[in-house]
Symmetry: none
Subunit: 225 residues, 2 copies
């Protein structure tokens, strides 16, 4: 189901949007400040963001900028009429469309559907998997720990993807090898060990523990730090 993130500090407007979108069949998350919105954005994989410009904590412009550092998710800016005219370059800086207050909810819905259609067609839906403070971002081939970007190589990414898709599930080295390499297991588990070791090193530079847990004699899994 399409998930939409609303970042809007006005309670009533937030609720209005939320109800309209839920009725239409979207899953909705509401945030009421800039930092809160960005936090949510980081934790889940949204199909679209509705973003107010005047926000407490962090301005909408800054939220947009931070979102754009990681993702090309469609963002529709909401703002007062007089604001928008001076903010035209927002659309050059990453917003996909804008809507002025006061708005008609049907108008909002139409523009959301348009953006979703556009982005769905061009195949640009960046997938993310989240586990605790780790976010695996397919669009960037990058693992984020808190806000630090940890670039992963192709194989590292494949392994991490498996582990994060099913946290706590134990993968044998044979499974990891066959799934990440898409090849048959020849009895060589040394390679897998080296990759895991390298990842641990990278991850623990940015977090307390590395999240990769060895289950002796069985395999590895993703586990709370």
């Amino acid at each position: 189901m399409e998930k939409i993130l609303i970042i809007e500090d006005n309670d009533e407007i937030n609720k209005l949007l939320r109800e309209m979108l839920e009725t239409t069949g979207y899953e909705v998350k509401s945030a009421f400040s800039g930092p809160e919105g960005f936090l949510y954005f980081d934790q889940e994989n949204y199909s679209l963001v509705l973003l107010d410009l005047m926000l407490p904590g962090m301005s909408g412009e800054d939220v947009l900028k931070k979102i754009r550092e990681k993702s090309s998710v469609p963002v529709i800016v909401i703002s007062a009429k007089n604001e928008i005219e001076s903010k035209l370059d927002l659309l050059e800086n990453g917003a996909d469309d804008y809507i002025t207050k006061p708005f008609d909810v049907r108008e909002v819905r139409a523009r959301i559907e348009l953006q979703l259609k556009k982005h769905g067609a061009s195949g640009g839906g960046g997938n993310r998997i989240v586990f605790e403070e780790l976010v695996l971002d397919k669009e960037n081939n990058t693992l984020f720990a808190n806000d630090a970007a940890i670039p992963l190589t192709k194989i590292e990414f494949s392994i991490m993807e498996l582990l994060m898709k099913h946290p706590n599930k134990i993968y044998s080295k044979q499974e990891l090898y066959e799934l990440a390499w898409e090849d048959h297991y020849i009895g060589e588990d040394k390679t897998v060990n080296v990759h895991i070791s390298n990842m641990r090193k990278k991850i623990s530079e940015h977090t307390k523990g590395d999240y990769i847990d060895t289950v002796w004699g069985i395999g590895v899994r993703l586990k709370k730090a």
Copy 2:
């Protein structure tokens, strides 16, 4: 001076738009039927077209189609609310934006200014995409870095356009090949590499870094220098 063509059969709305635009400083031509509008369009070079959907003589959709056979001038569609929802694909078929009736004239003005800005403010032609200090100008097949003009070849332009449309998104060489060449991937990535190499050379003559970032084993993307 920017010339705007209004194609709208309702006398009052036409007049309202016309007066607002003239006050704002545009030169305006009013048409009241589909064929009339297209006739005017053919005779002069407009910077933007405001197009009603319900028109006598020829539907707005058809007018848009005929305009698009000749020109990429920005077109903003105006229509009743209930109409627009079923016409979302209009924007995929050539419209650049839409406005629903009843509208606020300031809203119309803002969207017109946005489109003019996007389309390069001059004449009726090309789009511009901006990323950091890079500006890609569709009209001249040219990339501007700061103010230096970097001429791009056709294929170079296609690749750059893709990269700039979704900064940070990683494109595999296969994607680049298929999208820029509009052809199927035969397993030849060497060509793509050569083009990217050539572009890097051109770009870095005028900037600190080239903005093209290689993600080893995955693809390339546009990234902050």
